[in-house]
């Protein structure tokens, strides 16, 4: 399979004769080495095959949306890319180099930060503590090295800076996260990722739990992250959001990528048709 020429627009694992009737135009962003790439990812949960040979590419400086029906394997795909699960088969490449993530920490060490669908925050801890959870800064000198004392003042200051970078206007970093609104909590999770990511930011359904206005704010945050030079993977099944911010759209169906399209020359309804199988229905049925 890896010997085949890789066609970024369509899953190379599929029989070319079975291509969907609508062929998306070639993309311009898809040149050079992908920042993050996956080939033939498989993940099974007992009887359920969540990923069934999924491929994936993310290029520098882009917002790549991943869309698909419920159960298409979007969350499982990004969990594999962020180290939250270990795929049964397939490989992941970072800047063209094969990598193996055994835990989220492995991915984070390589600069991949993730905002999970269920917002991995500790509600009773404050904003600064959440931003630095798992990578607390210790105080300089013996207090830090011998007594392992964390530098609360510095973390509070830096947390304030990170939140301000993304124009998230929360005054006190000492506020417990549970006292924040949904959008503000999302802001904390996004700020944490943006602050520490050196390579990639992944966001799983960041607007799913939000109202219209708060969603708009989070989409702005996503653009700001990209404009600071970090490529973003955005998982969503909200088509207007996807077509609003994404540079390219990866369409996931039944555990595989079945197409990649560009929003600026592809219609939302066609993307939905591919996503739901209406457009390539026979092909899926024959598989």
């Amino acid at each position: 399979m890896s010997a085949q020429p890789v066609n970024v627009d369509f899953d190379p694992g599929l029989d070319p004769a079975l291509d969907p009737d609508v062929t998306p135009p070639p993309t311009t962003a898809s040149t050079g080495t992908p920042v993050l790439q996956a080939r033939g990812l498989v993940k099974r949960y007992g009887q359920v095959t969540a990923l069934d040979g999924a491929d994936f590419e993310l290029y520098p400086g882009e917002i790549l949306a991943v869309i698909g029906d419920n159960g298409a394997g979007k969350s499982t795909l990004i969990k594999a890319l962020s180290g939250a699960i270990v795929p049964d088969e397939g490989e992941i490449l970072l800047d063209g180099q094969p990598v193996k993530f055994r835990s989220p920490l492995d991915a984070r060490r390589l600069g991949i930060e993730t905002v999970y669908q269920d917002l991995a925050v500790a509600p009773a801890l404050d904003i600064a503590e959440n931003l630095f959870l798992g990578r607390e800064i210790r105080r300089p000198g013996p207090f830090g090295s011998v007594f392992r004392m964390v530098d609360k003042g510095r973390m509070l200051r830096e947390a304030g800076g990170h939140m301000a970078d993304l124009k998230i206007g929360i005054r006190s970093m000492r506020q417990a996260v549970e006292t924040l609104s949904g959008g503000q909590r999302q802001g904390v999770a996004v700020a944490r990722s943006a602050a520490f990511a050196r390579h990639v930011v992944i966001m799983d359904e960041p607007t799913a739990a939000l109202g219209v206005k708060e969603s708009g704010m989070v989409l702005d945050l996503i653009r700001q992250v990209r404009d600071r030079g970090l490529p973003v993977i955005l998982i969503s099944h909200n088509m207007p959001h996807v077509f609003d911010v994404a540079d390219r759209v990866h369409i996931q169906r039944l555990g595989r990528r079945i197409a990649v399209v560009e929003p600026r020359n592809f219609s939302m309804s066609d993307a939905v048709a591919i996503m739901t199988g209406a457009m390539a229905g026979e092909r899926v049925a024959r598989n």
Binding site: L125, L133, M217
Partner: protein, 336 residues
């Protein structure tokens, strides 16, 4: 179009309202125990001249000490959203190991203490491993180890109370005086243990990780915290505290008694809850637990001094527990 997330967030007004209520409920859970302590002291002092004497305060502390030390371990475990029912039984086994080895087998008394503490730590380790490796609920695991430790205590001790302990095993009961108040070294030890635990919980990353695990274990895992390893540490360290409590109780009673500690699991949970730590994990702290343990001791002592039948202490403790849990539940319901 650039929004700031604080501006015009939906329900901003409602949010501000909720915020103040969360704040109040949290303030109540953290200050409530202290207020109860002050009120109880004021009441008993007004009822009895003897209450606020140095010797009586020393007595209260000594009576509360063992449960207070056990409750440090229980606090750590409850902060991770766990629970330990094996606490008193494990301590009792530790005391029998310490005393029997020293008295009947001629083992060096310090080494015997160390072996007793290690026995308790071993039980904690077993609890932690069973909970994390087999993913069993802490309640069930520790119910099992409670019975195992209880049985081992009685088998190993052959139901005999071990007496004539070497002086080295009871020196913790020796004391110095501040003014007219006698302070045994074991009380100093207790305060040091509380301060150390407070420091770890408040000032170190590990402490914050314990809170995060109790708050949202999946979030903790995803941020790279090794949740299972931390839980094993917590249960093991709790075991060490049970061993130290055992060391304190043999010094205080000067015997190794296989009947020791039978209500300590519930008493330690009572202290933790009265201290404002949430049984759901992730909220509270160890200093509240110290207040909770002292509160129980003060009621017992104060009611005795004022000539009220001691059964009323249980009644009041029960009411306070319900009150504390209700406040906690209220604080939790107000969140997000």
């Amino acid at each position: 179009m650039t929004h700031a997330l604080s501006e015009n967030a939906p329900g901003a007004a409602g949010g501000a309202f909720d915020r103040s209520r969360v704040f109040n409920a949290q303030l109540l859970t953290s200050l409530g125990p202290l207020i109860a302590l002050v009120l109880a002291c004021a009441y008993f002092a007004s009822q009895s001249d003897r209450f606020f004497t140095g010797s009586n305060i020393s007595l209260i502390i000594q009576q509360s000490m063992v449960v207070a030390i056990l409750a440090i371990g229980q606090t750590l475990i409850i902060l991770t959203a766990g629970i330990d029912l094996s606490i008193g039984a494990v301590m009792a086994l530790g005391t029998i190991v310490m005393t029997k080895l020293a008295v009947q087998n001629g083992v060096n008394p310090y080494l015997a203490i160390l072996l007793g503490v290690l026995t308790c730590a071993g039980f904690g380790l077993a609890n932690g491993l069973l909970i994390t490796r087999l993913r069993l609920p802490p309640f069930i695991v520790t119910l099992g180890t409670l019975n195992i430790a209880y049985a081992l205590t009685h088998i190993y001790s052959e139901e005999q109370t071990i007496t004539k302990l070497p002086a080295a095993q009871t020196w913790l009961r020796t004391s110095f005086t501040i003014g007219e108040t006698r302070v045994p070294y074991s009380a100093v030890l207790m305060f040091i243990l509380y301060l150390m635990t407070w420091y770890v919980l408040r000032q170190t990353a590990s402490g914050r990780h314990i809170y995060a695990i109790g708050n949202n274990p999946e979030a903790a895992r995803l941020t790279g915290i090794n949740v299972r390893r931390m839980l094993v540490y917590v249960y093991t360290i709790a075991g060490v505290f049970y061993g130290i409590a055992g060391m304190v109780i043999i010094a205080r009673t000067q015997v190794g008694n296989p009947q020791e500690g039978q209500t300590d699991n519930l008493d330690s949970i009572t202290a933790v809850v009265l201290g404002g730590t949430s049984l759901f994990g992730g909220r509270g702290g160890v200093m509240g637990t110290l207040i909770g343990a002292l509160l129980v001791g003060i009621f017992r002592n104060g009611l005795q001094l004022t000539g009220v039948a001691s059964i009323y202490q249980r009644l009041i403790t029960g009411i306070l527990v319900i009150l504390a849990v209700s406040v906690d539940q209220l604080a939790r319901r107000r969140q997000g």
